[in-house]
């Protein structure tokens, strides 16, 4: 039977087009119930052992309405719910309303254990209904759902007898729909009613979305957001600015967006809760600039405003809000007036589930209470505001990390409203905290799905290189190839070889694991790897991009087995000049898997004279020459205060911290990898000028470096930053003979002024913007680590297509848009992976310092108005030392202990023994502890307090340390003696 469906569409020109689609109704759509004899289905989905609850003790199938999926998807995902019929009407509505929820629903439908069945009621002859005159589409859809429920209910009566009768239950939070259904004799419940009837799983009630149950305090009313068309128009005619909101790490009431104002990229500050207007970190917002007279608000004004707010929220603060704002720092003084704006609308929400913990003070119930109450959840991410949730397990959840989702942020509520999703485990527990940091950094860390694992070679570990593989590959198994990696490395991406040529030149080969042989485009394995983007290294864990079989075995270039590789072979002169370069897929057999240390020993041990060792020595010589050339071109040697933990074998708790050691051999491998990356970048760019995946590093912005340069002026140094070469040279000059760490410190700080290197698609930028500033390379890409980076996988495919003129390659390699989108994803993943590993280090540092009190030497890396930041080289950690005690920030101080001197950017304090000043690069001694009491002991934080120089009232005066002399190891050798007084 033919029906027609039509809708209106507007073309780009603005014309209105009526599109008519034919819609066929069928009589062969089956009910998919296990015991049905009437329907001719194969493989029914719905089981006869359907849902049973205390409230509805008869077996029944659930038919949820669209609003249930939209607001309560977390409930639907709960394992306690199964045997659900999803009406096509609902399914399609969800697809239009929210893609993320639609995808979650799809995952549920695919999950065979959940037994979710999509019933095509819109195509079913008996359930299809036409829309009536004056009926809204919503009402029509509601009626369509009811009509299908009715069909099911009569159909089930036909196919089951009295004893094993199965019912259908409509779940909807729409009162109108529910009453109409009940009038029609169908059983219908609201989600709350239904879930409350599921007495076996009481936690479900908590998961219920929080839509309207919190009475907002009307004291902080937010301004109404503008309508979409007003925003679009405002952005079009330049009165509004669009950007992604970025909240300051130090102050969650200070945000900014980057937007184009009058043709120049400008940072627009957004200060205070009313101006932030319910936007959350990451939201795409529309901002209106405030009049210039309001621009001049210095950071002090922010704090003042907060005080006002503190008064406004006095009652809330007393029993609800942890007094955490005290922690917030005034950021540096902004010298020139900064454009300031307020958020008038939100273009795109970027909410995700947030990890957090329940604020103890907001829980009012007693330990035995099971009433549901509103509590505040403090998110782990400081940039996210607190979230109201309603729970009846507040007592149980205290002390645990929980995952919550934000549902809404009504304009009369100070904080957004959300709901509990699941508990992650006890706070402070290492595995819980690791999961938290993975979730917080959006790292996909689930086990690989069976679909993905099915893409692996069927032979599994028994997979071998066979004759077949040799076709189209160079057989390099006879070469003396070896790999050099950190100890314990199982995913060996790269291996090297060198051999002298008769003409006095050298043949040098870099062999990279041929991952693309196993990871073919458009397979689930490829999609999964593209989504993961990179392997994430945590202190105690590695989250692989590829399944272990590939990463640690089949692709890994282990010694003494044949492995497939992608080789890059140069002819180099003895001065390390490239004569020519050749790329080929190959089969290799590594002769040795060395660690950096072993390789170093081989180089140094003159007794060893075998070919392999000689080769490594030649490589070492060549690498040094390459390095020198690179430095001459202006490459910058950067530094990071990274440390390495020694973990206890059993508990995996850190027992010691050591600086990462760098050996000659590290540099050896690095030089050749850089060479390979540059050569490959040139090759793929020559073949794919528009769609190569490259990596660039933009030059740093001068303002930050200028600040740094000013700071070291008193030391008679300066930083030139016109070119990377000038910068490198000026860094080389800045050496203090009595403090070898100074140069490294300067490099660390310079590194922080640098932009992030990013992947990009070559078609989106001009050639001169391709430069990699830090490496001083005109063109660069990532080719050498395909096991742990997806970018390299793409580059392998590009290179393969570039060297084989007859090779058929997929369109995805030449699609500029797709390539740019991919590089955006990879940049995001890459950044998140870095942040996750940093958080992991921080977590382990905290575990390390638990219960310890240490005094250590550190350097001042930043002076703020009410404190300064200290870097402790020994542990590579950084912390804030507050110059005003916590209690005094909110109250006006009568006699400040320390005064900020903006003239020379230092903090000064007048003590009985003279003026003590603290400025950038000063050496200080700090006491490091882990503050466990902060915020109910749920957020551990490294605490640093000043020990020396001594400032009364500020420096710590711990009894145990009183009058105790502490010897400070000074690398300068003239061990100073310091006395701790009180």
């Amino acid at each position: 039977m033919l029906q027609s469906k039509s809708f209106l569409k507007r073309t780009k020109k603005g014309n209105a087009i009526k599109v008519v689609q034919e819609h066929y109704l069928r009589d062969d759509i089956w009910c998919s119930v296990e015991c049905c004899k009437l329907c001719l289905q194969t493989g029914p989905v719905l089981s006869t052992s359907a849902m049973l609850t205390a409230q509805i003790p008869r077996p029944h199938y659930i038919v949820p309405d669209t609003n249930v999926f939209m607001n309560q998807i977390d409930i639907i995902e709960h394992p306690a719910l199964h045997d659900v019929i999803i009406m096509q009407t609902v399914y399609e509505e969800i697809r239009h309303l929210s893609l993320p929820i639609y995808n979650r629903l799809r995952a549920l439908i695919n999950d065979q254990k959940k037994r979710f069945y999509v019933f095509s009621n819109e195509h079913h002859r008996e359930t299809y209904i036409q829309r009536l005159k004056d009926e809204s589409p919503n009402d029509r859809n509601d009626r369509a759902i009811r009509s299908a429920v009715k069909w099911y209910s009569t159909h089930l009566k036909k196919i089951t007898n009295k004893e094993n009768h199965i019912e259908v239950v409509l779940l909807t939070d729409d009162v109108g729909n529910r009453t109409k259904a009940q009038e029609e004799g169908l059983s219908a419940f609201s989600v709350r009613e239904y879930v409350e009837g599921m007495t076996d799983t009481p936690e479900l009630v908590d998961i219920l979305g929080n839509s309207s149950n919190v009475e907002g305090d009307k004291k902080v009313p937010y301004e109404e957001h503008l309508t979409t068309s007003q925003i679009t128009n405002g952005i079009k005619n330049g009165t509004l600015h669009q950007g992604t909101l970025n909240i300051s790490m130090h102050n969650y009431l200070e945000g900014s967006i980057l937007s184009n104002v009058n043709g120049a990229d400008t940072q627009i500050m957004i200060l205070g809760r009313p101006c932030l207007n319910r936007a959350i970190q990451g939201d795409v917002v529309a901002v209106q600039l405030l009049p210039k007279s309001e621009w001049l608000r210095t950071p002090t004004a922010v704090v003042v405003e907060e005080e006002e707010e503190a008064n406004v929220n006095a009652d809330l603060k007393e029993d609800g809000e942890p007094k955490e704002q005290n922690d917030e720092l005034e950021s540096e003084v902004i010298e020139s007036s900064q454009p300031t704006g307020k958020i008038v609308g939100i273009i795109k929400r970027n909410w995700r589930p947030y990890c957090g913990f329940i604020s103890k003070k907001s829980v009012k119930s007693s330990a035995t209470s099971t009433f549901s109450e509103n509590v505040l959840v403090v998110p782990m991410d400081r940039r996210i505001p607190y979230i109201y949730i309603r729970t009846r397990q507040a007592q149980n959840l205290m002390g645990q990390r929980i995952l919550v989702s934000i549902d809404a942020w009504p304009k009369n509520s100070t904080y957004p409203q959300g709901h509990y999703v699941r508990a992650l485990g006890a706070a402070g527990d290492k595995s819980t905290e690791t999961e938290v940091l993975l979730l917080e950094h959006d790292v996909p860390f689930q086990e690989f799905a069976s679909q993905v694992l099915n893409g692996l070679p069927v032979e599994g570990e028994a997979w071998r290189v066979t004759e077949e593989h040799l076709s189209g590959r160079a057989d390099l198994r006879h070469l003396n190839i070896c790999s050099i990696d950190p100890p314990g490395c199982t995913d060996i991406d790269d291996a090297l070889h060198v051999r002298p040529l008769p003409n006095g030149n050298y043949e040098v080969g870099v062999h990279i694991a041929d991952v693309t042989h196993f990871v073919k485009p458009f397979t689930s394995l490829d999609e999964e790897a593209a989504n993961r983007g990179t392997t994430v290294y945590l202190v105690n864990k590695r989250i692989d991009m590829l399944p272990e079989l590939l990463g640690s075995n089949l692709c890994s270039l282990r010694c003494n087995v044949d492995r497939l590789a992608f080789s890059c072979i140069w002819e180099l002169t003895s001065d390390a000049e490239i004569v020519n370069v050749n790329f080929t897929k190959s089969v290799i057999s590594s002769k040795a898997s060395l660690t950096y240390e072993e390789a170093q020993i081989l180089i140094d041990d003159t007794r060893k004279q075998d070919d392999l060792t000689k080769g490594i020595r030649i490589l070492n010589q060549l690498a040094k020459k390459l390095h020198k050339k690179r430095i001459d071109r202006g490459a910058i040697t950067l530094a990071s205060p990274e440390v390495r933990f020694q973990l206890d074998f059993d508990s995996q708790d850190p027992v010691d911290v050591e600086m990462k050691e760098l050996r000659e051999t590290n540099a050896l491998v690095e030089e050749f990898m850089l060479l390979a990356n540059v050569s490959v970048a040139e090759k793929i760019y020559s073949k794919f000028p528009a769609s190569s995946l490259l990596r660039r590093h933009p030059p740093p912005t001068s303002t930050k470096l200028k600040e740094l340069s000013n700071a070291i002026k008193p030391l008679n140094f300066s930083i030139e930053f016109e070119t990377s070469r000038a910068l490198a040279e000026s860094l080389d000059r800045a050496v203090l003979s009595d403090d070898p760490y100074f140069n490294k410190l300067l490099r660390i700080l310079t590194t922080r002024c640098m932009m992030q290197a990013v992947y990009f698609c070559s078609g989106t930028l001009q050639f001169q913007d391709f430069r990699h500033y830090g490496l001083a390379a005109g063109i660069y890409t990532h080719f050498t680590s395909p096991i742990r980076r997806y970018s390299d996988v793409i580059v392998h495919r590009l290179l393969d297509a570039a060297i084989n003129p007859d090779k058929n390659y997929g369109q995805e390699l030449v699609d500029i848009n797709k390539m740019q989108k991919l590089s955006d994803v990879l940049n995001h993943r890459h950044r998140m992976a870095q942040l996750a590993s940093r958080s992991s280090v921080e977590l382990h540092t905290n575990i390390f310092f638990k219960g310890k009190i240490e005094h250590n030497e550190g350097y001042v890396t930043r002076v703020l108005k009410n404190g300064f930041i200290v870097l402790v080289p020994k542990y590579g950690i950084e912390g804030i030392v507050y110059s005003s005690s916590a209690s005094s920030t909110t109250k006006s101080q009568t006699t400040p202990l320390v005064v900020y001197n903006s003239h020379n950017n230092s903090l000064e304090s007048v003590t009985p023994s003279g003026t003590v000043s603290i400025k950038l690069f000063d050496k200080v001694i700090v006491q490091i502890t882990v503050d466990e009491d902060l915020v109910d002991g749920m957020r551990q934080k490294m605490k640093m307090e000043l020990v020396s120089p001594f400032i009364p009232g500020l420096s710590v005066s711990d009894n145990t340390l009183r009058k105790k002399e502490i010897r400070i190891e000074d690398e300068g050798g003239n061990g100073k003696r310091m006395r701790i007084d009180d």
Partner: protein, 312 residues
């Protein structure tokens, strides 16, 4: 149009019959043939109707509305006060070559132009009945343009009357999408269309759209709804456009013969009363048809259309 010959005997027979108020098919002088009219058979159009008159004349009208800019031709004053605030109606009539031998090749060009112009003149003025102001979305900028396309599928005399009747029905059937106007502030307005096709408005003023009654002067008498043979005998034709209130909305004469003053008066009066009655019964039918369709939908019964198979 190529001259089609008719024998003198045939012409005489028709003339005599008319004198006796008995035409070849048994009708009196002022009788119409049976009308079959159905609306809404082109789903892709915003409105449509098809009308078949007797055994022959068959006209299909499709109405399509689209967004366009207001008409800005003319003096500044005229544009500012009238045209900027109005929508437009664009007509096109085409006689299909399959309808008649006369329409083959270039033969149809003249008649197509004549009919198109006639329809355009009647519908675009105030006499056309349609409320053109209501078709304006944003004054000075966007408006609805109503495209009326009439296709003559078959010919058995009296195209003009059939065409106007069908057009009226098609306009009644037309569903104009709802434009939602947003105020962006600063006097700027933008609009969106409601995606929902069921949210529509009828063209305001459709009920005032006139129909035509064509009177053919044969001998000293006049007849309505002439067959092709009668049209050949006609000395002069008078198309009288009448609306439901019996108001004359237009008169056009065609043919080479002359009409005396008294006869002209009589013909106009006849046309007026006939047209008014015709409109009344036509409207009754249209409303009934719509009501029936809604009834069927409400009971979830299939709505079947006569489609193109309708015939007497």
């Amino acid at each position: 149009m190529a001259p089609v010959l008719i024998s003198a005997l045939e012409a005489d027979y028709i003339l005599k019959g008319i004198d006796d108020n008995l035409r070849a098919d048994g009708r009196g002088r002022l009788d119409y043939r049976e009308v079959i009219l159905e609306t809404g058979l082109i789903t892709q159009a915003h409105g449509s109707a098809r009308c078949r008159l007797g055994e022959g004349t068959d006209v299909l009208v499709g109405v399509k509305v689209d967004i366009g800019t207001v008409d800005i031709d003319g003096t500044e004053e005229e544009v500012a006060t009238v045209k900027a605030k109005r929508g437009r109606v664009v007509c096109n009539v085409e006689c299909s070559p399959i309808a008649s031998q006369q329409f083959a090749g270039r033969g149809a060009d003249d008649i197509n132009n004549e009919l198109t112009q006639m329809m355009s003149r009647v519908l675009n003025g105030p006499q056309g009945g349609l409320n053109l102001e209501k078709l304006c979305i944003i004054p000075g900028k966007a408006c609805w343009i109503v495209y009326i396309d009439a296709l003559v599928l078959d010919y058995a005399g009296n195209i003009v009357d059939t065409m106007f009747m069908t057009t009226r029905a098609a306009l009644f059937n037309t569903q104009v999408p709802k434009a939602i106007i947003h105020d962006l502030g600063d006097g700027e307005v933008e609009f969106d269309l409601s995606e929902d096709v069921e949210e529509w408005e009828r063209i305001e003023g459709w009920e005032h759209v006139p129909i035509s009654v064509t009177l053919n002067k044969i001998g000293s008498r006049h007849i309505v709804d002439a067959t092709p043979l009668e049209e050949l005998t006609t000395e002069a034709k008078l198309h009288v456009m009448v609306n439901r209130n019996g108001k004359i909305c237009g008169i056009q004469k065609s043919g080479s013969g002359s009409i005396e003053h008294s006869l002209l008066n009589e013909m106009v009066q006849t046309g007026r009363s006939l047209g008014q009655n015709l409109i009344i019964s036509l409207d009754k039918m249209l409303l009934q048809e719509e009501y029936d369709i809604n009834e069927k939908r409400m009971r979830n019964k299939p709505v079947e259309k006569l489609g193109f198979f309708a015939a007497t």
